[in-house]
Symmetry: C5
Subunit: 374 residues, 5 copies
């Protein structure tokens, strides 16, 4: 019972959201502008950009919110690891100031602001730039939202850019503030691993939510298989297509980290952790493919069940027509007004005729059995 309700909620949510909108949005706004022009492309998802900074080594740690990037200047190069996180990208001046401070290429800043990017990895001289599509799933409606997450990984700093504040990195933050954890003992590259791992983990929540929807549909399929069921399958298939588009590029990105030996990921010890993330990404990709095969199979099944039901409906119709048309005809014949018709005057005529009709019905039944209609 609960299952069906949540399916219905999902359907309602989707009709409101129109997930197709996610594919491409607003890109034409920048057409004709020179490369490197900074302009925020995307919805404004938060009021003020929130800047938070973490600095730590094995022994010391501090974290605080910042009002402006200027406050950050003093901190730079004095920490073993400095993590600056920015939630909200619509204030271009903040991004610009940060870019100047950490010497980021204008094309990188442009990519951070254009929030409809394909996931990618780009190696610059003194930093590594990564763009990911992070997914979030509303616990209530099952609505999947997507946001762009950009990472700039330097030798002793990590910058992260999110479109809106989220709880994705809360566990990681907790581990940074606890002394003695592995993240405290290691450098910026291990922090980057922790962040990427958190993003990849967020996909697993989506997969679980999709799996439970598939299970519910699987049941509904053989029970009702009405048009509602079909719409759910259609939505699920479309979401899997879009999800695959988001997830597929991650495979080659994480693979390139473990293969290309980027300078900022110098610690030999970090490599096995990235291989672990890589295994997860492959697992996610394969699971999406498997779901897709299953959902395509569901569509076929839905169609087969509808066809089968049609068959049964037609059998009922044909049976009824085949039985009653001849009978009605006979009754019609004896309803004609000819003066001389045999048997009309005979006392048992009516009953004999009824008996004859009964025999016809019996004959039909035998015929239907032979054809295995029942």
């Amino acid at each position: 019972m609960k299952g069906k309700k949540s399916l219905r909620k999902v359907r309602a949510a989707h009709q409101a959201v129109k997930p197709i909108k996610k594919v491409m949005r607003n890109i034409s706004k920048t057409i004709g502008q020179p490369a490197g022009t900074l302009q925020h492309i995307g919805e404004q998802k938060t009021d003020f950009p929130a800047i938070t900074v973490f600095g730590y080594d094995a022994d010391h740690e501090f974290h605080m919110p910042l009002k402006s990037i200027a406050e950050c200047t003093a901190l730079k190069d004095k920490q073993k690891v400095l993590w600056v996180n920015i939630d909200g990208l619509h204030d271009v001046s903040v991004i610009e100031a940060l870019g100047k401070l950490f010497d980021i290429h204008p094309l990188t800043l442009e990519d951070i602001l254009h929030t409809e990017q394909r996931s990618k990895i780009e190696d610059f001289e003194h930093y590594l730039f990564l763009v990911f599509r992070a997914l979030d799933c509303d616990a209530q409606t099952g609505e999947i939202t997507e946001e762009q997450m950009s990472l700039v990984i330097g030798s002793n700093f990590v910058l992260t850019f999110q479109e809106r504040p989220g709880d994705m990195f809360d566990a990681l933050r907790a581990r940074i503030t606890s002394p003695g954890t592995s993240v405290r003992k290691r450098g910026a590259d291990y922090l980057a691993y922790g962040l990427i791992d958190a993003i990849v983990d967020s996909y697993f929540v989506i997969l679980e939510q999709l799996e439970s929807r598939i299970e519910l549909l699987d049941q509904e399929l053989f029970e009702t298989s009405g048009r509602d069921t079909f719409e759910s399958i259609y939505l699920l298939k479309k979401e899997l297509i879009l999800l695959r588009k988001s997830v597929r590029p991650m495979r080659e990105i994480i693979n390139s980290i473990s293969r290309e030996h980027y300078t900022v990921i110098d610690d030999e010890a970090t490599w096995p952790f990235f291989r672990d993330v890589y295994d997860n990404v492959i697992f996610i990709n394969e699971t999406i493919e498997t779901y897709r095969d299953i959902v395509i199979g569901m569509y076929d099944t839905w169609l087969a069940i509808v066809n089968n039901r049609m068959n049964e409906i037609m059998k009922v119709l044909t049976t009824i027509a085949t039985v009653f048309m001849p009978l009605s005809f006979i009754a019609g014949v004896y309803g004609m007004n000819f003066r001389s018709m045999p048997g009309l005057e005979w006392q048992w005529g009516f009953y004999v005729l009824l008996g004859f009709m009964g025999m016809i019905v019996a004959g039909m039944m035998v015929y239907f059995r032979t054809r295995k209609w029942f």
Copy 2:
């Protein structure tokens, strides 16, 4: 409401245009001719070929229309960057003269004139030759038109050939005429990047237009799903097939620019910009694939909805037939003219029979509920 109108406009436009014509046209005209024979293959899309020339370095700039290629001779080799643009290809002598001036291989000239080429890149000793399919989308009808855009990139010149004048490069022209822009500071390879970027950007407009049509169809699908809807899906699918054919080769072309280290693109600084274009081309390719998956899903959905509706129609028919055929038969039996039939003379016979009929109807209803037809 507006949405439906624009869909209808798209359909009407397409029935007029017959987009299938775009696939291959007139190629057989040249069969049997020796390689390098110059002859314009394609429709004449403009009256006179318009020749315009831009010359600039960081400090100076000039631009003017030319009446003949001869005027160009004086300008050659005296500018840091010389850009000659030709709109309209039907005057073979203009192309020939330009070819002689800049020492272009006859096969290249032939390819410029045969406007049904596949996109490609060819490296000659002193220049790089590129052919692209530029797309334009009529704002009114949504009709997509395609034209061939040829680029010849030399060390200090760029030649562009279009079938008809367009506004695709207007923003770039504006930046050239403004002093201090990045294009003014850099060489011919950066100009080439600017031109290719403008061509790639033109695809995004098409994608947005396609996306809005997909959204409209997505709504229409579950609302009406008549034959009109299907024709729209069919047209969309065919356009995506043709679009993919145009766009797919660009991937390997742009990739080869960033990989092959062509001599005319010697500036190390230009490379990140081409990588940016490459990301865009991959994004466009993947978006087209995603659209295709969605449109194929729509076709399946349309068929499923039609099947489902058939099911419902058949249920109505079968219900009506199953209820009224037996009733009519009974009425027919009591319409027979046998002399002795039980109950005819009885005062309440008629009402008892009607009651009996009512019971049959009630029984049917129970049966239908059991089969979950309502």
Copy 3:
């Protein structure tokens, strides 16, 4: 007869088990935890972890169950080959102690405990780590269960981890305890081969069971092809999708063993045996693909048969309606109460009309024959 029963049993079993659940389970539990945290993820499938140890060389052999890992310390490094097998993974302390004793990396221990891993191979300095999905098939219901099998292969030891006790390695154990067998003469890498071979062999049992189900369905398809048949095809297809997901990664794993020259598999003589396993894995993969093609063909066939049957039903309906509707109409005409109608008073009128009706029926029959409906 027996065949049909077993198909029905399979269907019943599957409705109880919901095999879709196997795809992904409980992974989100670990989200937010630092890498290397040991926690058992999966169902507890046995009460106590059972530890058994085998030590042997060509001349001596012993085997015994252990109560704790501590007992194992004395045995380590004193045997030519030491095999420690653990059934049941829920007691994290056992795994941890074993890890400490044999110097296993924390990420390996984490992977052993997370029983939803994708099959993989990982090379560490002094050991090789392999994860497989072992399949088991209930002889009664045909229900396929999956468990994770982890192998740690060192230079002179092999550790195996199973989720629950099984008889998969019984034949191998028997060969170890018999003096003079090839396994006794060779090292730990040959033991590893024996274990992997046993896992791969377990797939063949599944394939045979699937093949016999396909054969049964093949018969049922052309005999009944009801909705039951379709559900069986649907289940079979879904199982093949999941099975492929389990088996596909094995190909590259076994291939990497024969290609990468891992240090722990130093014996040149072991290589041909792994190539043999590799042939088997390719054979299994191809057989699954072939089954899938066949099962997809079955779905098409089912649909075609249902469509064909519909055709025949409609022919019956149309024949009946086409014959009796005109007849009933004629009877209806002569049932009208007009005073003057031709022939009503005529003695032979009734018989002439019946004859006329007979001629109509004959005409219809000729028409149907022409259209090849019979």
Copy 4:
């Protein structure tokens, strides 16, 4: 009007030709014979083998038909370029003599005579052997015929073997006989390019013919979409499958010419021309794939239209039945012969009942509108 006629002609032609026969023919005739046995496999398509010879350099040129290969001996090695063309392969002795004269490997001669070869390229010490499938399209019926074209390219000679005389090389012959053309100035490799280019050009004629058929079908599809239309789609699809089989291997052959640096194609200048042919071959391959996608889309569309039409037919049937079955029943009730039925004696009874029937019809209409059946 003209379009439809030509479609009908194509259909008729195909029913006569049975194009499937082209796939494989007569190969089993040679089974059991030792390799290198010369025997003509294929239909005899001409009466006598016609031998023609062209010899030329930049200044001189001659051409003449030959009666026997013996006449050729004197010419060999005295010309810059010698081209021997043979139309008709059934006279094995001619092929054998030519083989001896130019020192051709027995396997090559065997391949020339077995006219069901797959296109291929083989490098022998002193010559390059190429086999192509040349296509010809009957201008009247659109019937596509295929023949094997073999080329032996030596350093100063080219041998061509056709199954029957054709006009494919006429333009090339004209250029050879005109002094000053590029073919006269260059060597045997340029002649080979000219021949291959002519073969590839012949595909464009086929593509245009196919495109015009696709256009006609595209119109017919939405107008009639009867069984004729479907048969045309089926034929087109089958032809595209066979065409693809013929064309696909050419891609790798032409590619290997521009990549492998064969000794007989020593002239650096010839290479850009082969790259041009390569572009054409890729274009042809992609166009065939695009046509295939379009034709598959047509099949789906045809089915959808037929389904849609069925829907409309069923709506008409259901409407009629739903309206008239209840009415007929009511009429039947008042046709019963009960003595006491209410209203029968009443003067306005008949009209009141008709009015009641009219109300039922009106109610039905409202119901149908609600369901959007009209």
Copy 5:
């Protein structure tokens, strides 16, 4: 007429044979046995294993049946080429003795005896081991049978193992016994080529048989397209799936012979012959793919024709119902027993009503024409 009969024979044969059985059989029998255990897996297809031996060089030749392998010892190493052929594999001792004599690895012997192997090539120090699936086609019923053919190729000997005696190598045997043939002049590698060529040639017979069945089906499809036709298509598709599984691995095997430079194939002159076989194998693979595309197209066509026929049946039904339901209703109205109905008493009432009915029919006809139902 003959064609249809043979199709029916094929169908009957297949229902008896259950070709699906061929996919995997009896493999589970060996599970748990140590590698290298010799045991015959497969059906016993002959009574006694027949051992025949051929020895030859350019001048001498002898051949004779052997009773035991022991007789062979004397012959070994005394012939230029020694060919031992064994028909029937169930006598393990024969294989074992031969293995000992020619020093064959136990895993090779095991593979020879397990007759469900995938085709493969394995290089051992002093011999090359090949396994093929040879196909045979019953001339009467068209039933395709498969057997495993193993070849052991040494520097001066070839061993062949067949499951049952066949005539596949008869032509080769004839050539060996004739002095002066090329096989007599060359070594063991040329003999191996001859044997493999004979196996590959046997596929062509199958292809021809399949092609003639496809042609017959192609005709039957548009003529009858009943359920029989569909079953034939289904069988054909399944056979093509299994055939592809047998043939596909051959491509890489033959390719590896011409690429890997195995020591036993040392003669440079043998290589062009293997390339010839390779071309044949590619041709066979592509032909099977083409057949598959055609057969899949046939399935779609069958479904389309059945749908189309349904459409026509429904048109007939709807026409009949639409015409006669209103007419019957009108007749029913005038069959009611109201006292006062207009026209009943009128002399021409009957004829006027019939005329009115005729007008309704005419109106219907016009309506149907408008909808293009006829």
